[in-house]
Each structure stands twice: as structure tokens, then as C-alpha cells.
């Protein structure tokens, strides 16, 4: 009997370790993808500006969806919550030269298995950027 319990415990521990490792791997991968798409989106906004908030928001979304598709990332597009706003602005509507913005992308905390508890419910990355556009670009 004792033998049997020991074997069962052994197997459980044996399974738990690869499970934990895969969970860590999943989180790092998702974080990597998030870092990369947010960098691409921040760079895009930095170099393009935009005529108003809605246009910028739309552009960011399309950059993200393009990045996810082209790089064959595993993050589902609808899971990525985008928030972008200006922290410094010259014009109330137009996103123009030298304006600064904060981009924040958030996804539900990636999990490989629901067996293991996670420390947080979401994973987020934020990027602060500065816009560089000439007037004739708009």
C-alpha cells in the first residue's frame, strides 16, 4: 500500500515539473510577442502621428494585426487590449511633431494549464514614445 502511494506521488511530482516549465515558457513567449508588437506599434505612431485619436487607435490596431500575422505569433488578436493616449500635446486633436504618447497593451495572463496558480490576471506592456512628423506628412 505504502509502495503504491509512493508511486502515485512520484508520478504526480514528475508531471508537475514539466507542467511548471511549460507554464514559464508560455509566459515568456507571450511576453516576448507582446514586447515586439508594442515596439512595432510605438515605432509606427512615432513616425506617422495622426489626424485624431480615432485614426491613431485604428492604425495601432492594424499594425498589431499585421505584426501578429506576418510573424506568425500565437497571441490571438482579439485578446490584445490597446490603449493609447497622449501625455503631451501641442494641438488638441492632431497628433503632431514632438507630441508624446503612452501605449499600453494588455492580454489575459497566458497560461499553459489552469492547474497552477498565477500571480496576476493580466500581462501588460507599456511604451512611451515621441512623434516625429513634418507638417507635410499629415
Amino acid at each position: 500500500m505504502g509502495q503504491l502511494i509512493a508511486v502515485i506521488l512520484n508520478v504526480m511530482v514528475l508531471l508537475l515539473v514539466p507542467l511548471g516549465l511549460l507554464q514559464v515558457h508560455t509566459v515568456i513567449q507571450a511576453h516576448n510577442e507582446l514586447l515586439e508588437i508594442s515596439a512595432a506599434a510605438a515605432k509606427y505612431v512615432s513616425n506617422h502621428g495622426g489626424v485624431n485619436d480615432a485614426v491613431v487607435q485604428q492604425q495601432v490596431k492594424s499594425v498589431i494585426s499585421r505584426e501578429l500575422r506576418e510573424k506568425q505569433f500565437s497571441l490571438p488578436e482579439q485578446d490584445v487590449a490597446v490603449s493609447i493616449f497622449r501625455t503631451q500635446s501641442a494641438d488638441p486633436v492632431m497628433w503632431s511633431h514632438e507630441d508624446e504618447f503612452l501605449l499600453r497593451l494588455e492580454i489575459p495572463y497566458p497560461r499553459f494549464t489552469t492547474l497552477l496558480p498565477t500571480s496576476s490576471r493580466t500581462l501588460a506592456v507599456s511604451r512611451q514614445g515621441t512623434i516625429n512628423v513634418m507638417d507635410y506628412d499629415l
Binding site: N10, V13, H25, E98, G129, T130
Partner: protein, 197 residues
Amino acid sequence: MGINLLSISTLLFFLLIGLFVVDTDLAMQKKQEVKTLLELANHHASFAVDPVLKTEGVIDLIEEEALIRFAERVRENGGYLMEAASFIPATNSVTTDPIPFVRHYIDFRSWRQDWELHLRYNGSALVLERITPGARNQDGGRLRILVTTKQGEVLQLAPKTMVGPSHIVVAYVDERPFLSMLPGHAFPVVSVEEVKR
């Protein structure tokens, strides 16, 4: 007894493989993220244009202000604090060891010329050893950056062609492995940004 020995060795084997995978993941993340960090910060720094010279049609950078702007972004985007010639990581930063860096500005008089920057990493600091000018180039000079590592190996970073006065930042990431049996990660990262008009 036999089964215990077997399961423990399987466990260790899984752990070992897992550690290698996670270590590789992290190394990739570090390289990409430090590069992004430098680019975003240098982009912001290159807005520190001298307003007086600008009215005379000359685009030039105020280096002190550029450095302040650079430090600002490195803190906001990566959590790093700038101290002397290093970025000190916070607990949530992508790297765990301080990152030494060197910055150099090629102004409006000299960007139409080729330049070669020789840097050396001595194990704790990154030093700009010498800067040698090359041929003049009306379309914008070519920039070659060479970094000598701790082991004496010379790494040549991808050459860049300047399109205006340029602010250059080179950082050297040298991370201790989180287990002594894993290899450490050491590599230079460079960002070149032309000064914004």
C-alpha cells in the same frame, strides 16, 4: 528504491532541459528588448535641438539635454536608472546586471564623413578608445562601430549610413547566467538616430 532513483533522475533531466529552454527564451527577450529600449530612448533624445542655431538654419544637438531626455525614456520604458555611464536595472527590468553604455555625437560639421568608432568592454565598463575619420562622403558618412570584448574578440556591428547629424549610443549587455552551468549572455547593442528637425 529503484523507482525513486529513476524518478529523481527523470526529474532532473526535465529540469535541465527546461532550464535551457527558458534560458534561451530569456536571452532572445533581452537582446530584442534592450535594442528597442535604446531606439525609443535615442529617438526621444534626438529631439534636443538647439533652438538658437535652428533659427539660423543649422540643426545641432544640445548634448546635455539629449542625455537627460535619453535617461527619462530609459526609465519610463525599461525601469532603468542612469548612473554615471551605466543603466541600473529595476526588479521588473528585462536584464539583471547594470548595462554600461557610451554615447557619441557626430555634429552638423562632420556627418558627411565616414567614421570608425573603436570601443572596448573591460568587464565592467565600456570605453570609447578612439574615433578615426575616413573619407568624405557627400551623401552622408558611413559609420563603423567595432567593439572589443572581454576576451579580446573584435565584434563589428552592422554599418550605418548617416543622413544627418547623428546621436550614437552603444550599450554592452553582460549578464551572469542564473545558474553557473549555463552560459552567460554578452552582446553589444547600438542605436543611431539622426537629430530631428
